[in-house]
Symmetry: C2
Subunit: 573 residues, 2 copies
């Protein structure tokens, strides 16, 4: 729909709604910083140059840039619902995000994806989603839902669904598996995002030839360069648990930059509040010496072009007036944020409130009776070694350790002196009571237990503890609130964060969630863990598509051979 | 449709159809020249690196680049039908063109557009079209067809129609005219090409705000820069009659290049054969010092991205194997051309023949009885001055001259000594016998006449002569062949080029057409004209949307005020 009113303002027949005078414009189109007056009408850029306006804002030489775009983010990792997430990132200058709602999709399926769109619809943040391609992540887990090609196809008509989200099952794509190809074909002509850590050579050729357009899993410079040469758009990521930006920034130059974007993937409330969102990646890029116009392109024009959103990503007539202001080009701290021409954040604070409507369809997703769970780990016979998950600090991959268990009264028990803890994953979607049990090293608890319903990607109830009573208490703390995170010792709940929305998110403000998270972290540190974020570390111990030894409700998973393995080395499963 | 066979070749499980060994690859994606082996299967790029193949081609260090793309071309200007045009441009390395069929659309309407797609469908050149937006160019002419928004909408389902072709009625767009906005809205979400010579400031803001994405009419550097800053993709043009490339090349740098493309717009058979097509523009850019990778981007990746053709424009897995080879990076002369992996041209020659099917639906479009035409120009009363079209050499704009006519026996007559010639435009689509009459200076004929059914954009029969008998003979020569170009003196036809397809195109090879065109040019020079191409000059004297004084079948047109004006200065029309 062409706005005749906008044309009238553009050609000068009507006053603009707002005129930004004396801006230093970050012109990502022509590739320059230039002085400009920018007129806005009907939420769009009307044109350049001084003209009549109902309101004038003299920027006095401050910078004006297009709103920032996050090319790939799992909103669920902020632990708050999309509307609350908006209050956290919009003041950072983020005006558009492309989200993959695959955490909630693993719990609730299509209704979960639709909830994310619905909850985000009314807030001043442009939220687009890609359809989650890998639900469940594998058959070696029990998720709350399963999405096949037909299910995904039903999302094609949703105006906020752009394409297919990260196709993590890259071995299946490379092998030409029918199931995953059917999903890709359902999205022919749409955006298809990739996820292929370390993929290289002919396998990468096949993955790209299948039509996959991007990757955000590069950790090495040469890996990113190879993907770029094959035509992938490479998203440079700086997540809480995967900090790849610095390593990859040497890739950014005037020749290569057009096919590079920035993304946050997964960021905790604390990182969002202390560091920021895409604005943080932008500053980090600038600090590393990236040219300012190019750095802004990575966060504006490039993702807009990749995602075929020609109405944004630059300041030009007809495009959305999604704008940010700041004073220091080398260290931009976002001052005002405009969405479709309206001021929505100022000085780091949102100027809007939200009212998440989290009805029963997204609550009550934790079907666990903590009292009747069988967490026991009987020591069947004498001798022999067991498989133990070895945590690698700040990595989501693990090691497979073979150790002798500590046995008491016929039970394999935690032994904090050896940094050996019990771990269990409890199926929580269908009330089956199924429990996968194992042992973990590297978590560092001296006593007590931690539990949570955030466990990638199946999001079953995961619990780690030094004794069974603490584990039961931690489980109970989580189940009582319909999901969440908890820390317990013996019969006492030391701290908890309710995440009643799908067991993944809170509907409260991110500041509150962050305070409770801090209390949780403090409590778990008091119990002896020295990991930077034990909850995040725990949440990835269930992700069986990442090497080497993981655990799901179905038991221990050898993620390299991709099969369930027994606790005891040498036993048959 | 994902080709499982392609994936199998990509991952190395099956041999490739063809392997190009030891290429120096123009990698427009990563922005570098690099050594590579390139495997092709099923017409697509399978991957990089040495691997089994049914056929190996050792390039021995020669260059391999993506096939060239012409972002905007009126095929009709080559005077041959699309299939013959393919034989002319494919050996030049052009593998994809985006054409605006607005010449034939003005003669035949939608069936004309569909003929162009049909005739081009079977040949090894990827021909896409945009729907012609301005048919007729104005109400001050009689065209053979008129296309409104509904007509254009009927083209949306044609797989080879990308979007809306150059919206030449820029004043109507700027003013918010309902008719043109309806056309733009019919193509919401599609490509919309522009045409806005000299448009600037608020008017340009309005034109861009209406959703128009490109312009190929820039003649000055600052004009192009302003359009780039507003978000337009700028096509750098080097047409036969509009040579803008050299002036605009300083715009091309690493910051700006991504939104620049090359286009030929209108090229005569002689220019296509002697200079070339996009390959000529590429060499000219390189000669002016443009970096090779960037020059190739202008002709490959950039138009592919602008026109949203992600399956081409670069050499990468899954993309079409449209490839060219050459030996000198600074002066590329295309050696082999591959379309979808098949060799289709070699050493400047096409390796395919064509059989244009030009049935009756596109022939017999010249409804004129040359014998009964009233070409007379009675001198009504004594004295007074008349309006005379003043030709400006090598420009399509004209001057309005006010001169005293030469009168004999009560008739205004041509007076070669004063370089005053008779000109007439005869309506040829509906057999109305309507004739617009006037005088022209600057054409230079001493005797005889020239006629043609190529007259932008209405393509009526246009004739210029030193006497009425020669004009009648020239008309007859053209009408007899169902349209074309002719040169006559008195009762004798000196040369003619039949253009039986819509009166615009021949179905014979471009080489033959070029030879006949040379004979025509020689004949018209013998008659005294010193213009570089008198036929092209004549063909634009009927284009009333370009300043200043033009002529259509409805009479003289003041193209500045956009109205019919009388021959006599001061008379009422």
């Amino acid at each position: 729909m062409i706005e005749k009113e906008l044309l009238a303002v553009a050609r000068g027949d009507r006053p603009a709604d707002r005129l930004f005078r004396n801006a230093r414009l970050v012109d990502v189109l022509a590739g320059e910083i230039r002085e400009a007056h920018v007129a806005v009408a009907r939420g769009r850029i009307a044109g350049f140059g001084a003209r009549d306006a109902r309101e004038e804002i003299d920027l006095e030489g401050r910078y004006l840039a297009p709103g920032l775009i996050d090319a790939h983010v799992h909103i669920e990792s902020s632990l708050v619902v999309p509307s609350q997430f908006a209050r956290a990132v919009v003041p950072r200058g983020v005006t558009t995000v492309i989200t993959d709602p695959h955490e909630i999709a693993n719990v609730l399926g299509l209704p979960g994806i639709r909830f994310m769109l619905r909850d985000g619809a009314g807030v001043p943040l442009e939220i687009f989603a890609n359809a989650s391609s890998c639900v469940p992540a594998s058959p070696l887990e029990t998720s709350g839902a399963s999405l096949d090609a037909e299910d995904l196809r039903s999302l094609l008509d949703e105006p906020r669904i752009l394409g297919l989200a990260e196709v993590m099952s890259f071995p299946a794509v490379v092998a030409g598996d029918d199931g995953v190809l059917a999903k890709l074909e359902a999205f022919t002509g749409r955006i298809v995002d990739g996820h292929c850590p370390g993929l290289s050579g002919p396998a990468l050729d096949a993955y790209v030839a299948a039509g996959i357009g991007s990757d955000h899993e590069c950790i090495r410079l040469e890996e990113a360069r190879e993907k770029l040469r094959r035509g992938m758009t490479v998203f440079l990521r700086e997540a809480t648990n995967a900090r790849n930006l610095e390593e990859l920034l040497p890739l950014v130059d005037e020749r290569s930059e057009r096919r590079l974007c920035l993304c946050t993937d997964d960021r905790t409330p604390a990182d969002l509040m202390d560091e920021g969102s895409i604005d943080h990646l932008l500053r980090k890029s600038l600090a590393a010496g990236v040219d300012p116009v190019i750095a802004f392109r990575l966060a504006t024009l490039n993702p807009a072009e990749y995602f075929r959103l020609p109405d944004r990503g630059a300041v030009a007539p007809g495009r959305r007036a999604d704008l940010v202001t700041f004073s220091d080009l080398r260290d931009p701290r976002i001052e005002e944020v405009y969405l479709a021409g309206s001021l929505v954040a100022e000085g780091g604070d949102p100027l809007f409130s939200v009212s998440p409507e989290t009805d029963e369809t997204v609550r009550g997703t934790v079907e666990v009776d903590p009292e009747t769970l069988d967490l026991s780990l009987p020591a069947r016979g004498e001798g022999g070694r067991i498989r133990v998950i070895g945590i690698v600090p700040d990595q989501i991959l693990t090691e497979e350790l073979h150790l002798s268990p500590t046995v008491e009264d016929g039970e394999i028990v935690a032994d904090p002196d050896r940094d050996l803890l019990r771990i269990a994953v409890v199926e929580r979607h269908r009330g089956s009571g199924r429990v996968g049990r194992g042992m973990v090293r590297g978590f560092g608890l001296r006593r007590g237990a931690v539990a949570g319903t955030v466990a990638h990607d199946h999001h079953n109830l995961i619990v780690i503890g030094a004794d069974e009573e603490s584990m039961r208490t931690a489980n109970r703390a989580v189940v009582e609130t319909g999901g969440g995170l908890s820390v317990a010792r013996d019969g006492e709940i030391l701290a908890r964060l309710p995440l009643p929305v799908a067991g993944l998110m809170s509907d409260r403000p991110v500041e509150e969630v962050r305070r409770e998270m801090d209390r949780l972290l403090s409590a778990v540190r008091d119990l002896g863990s020295s990991l930077r974020d034990p909850f995040m570390a725990m949440s990835f111990l269930g992700l069986e598509v990442i090497p080497s030894l993981k655990i799901t409700d179905r038991g221990l998973v050898d993620a390299d051979r991709f099969e369930i393995v027994p606790l005891r080395v040498g036993a048959s499963s």
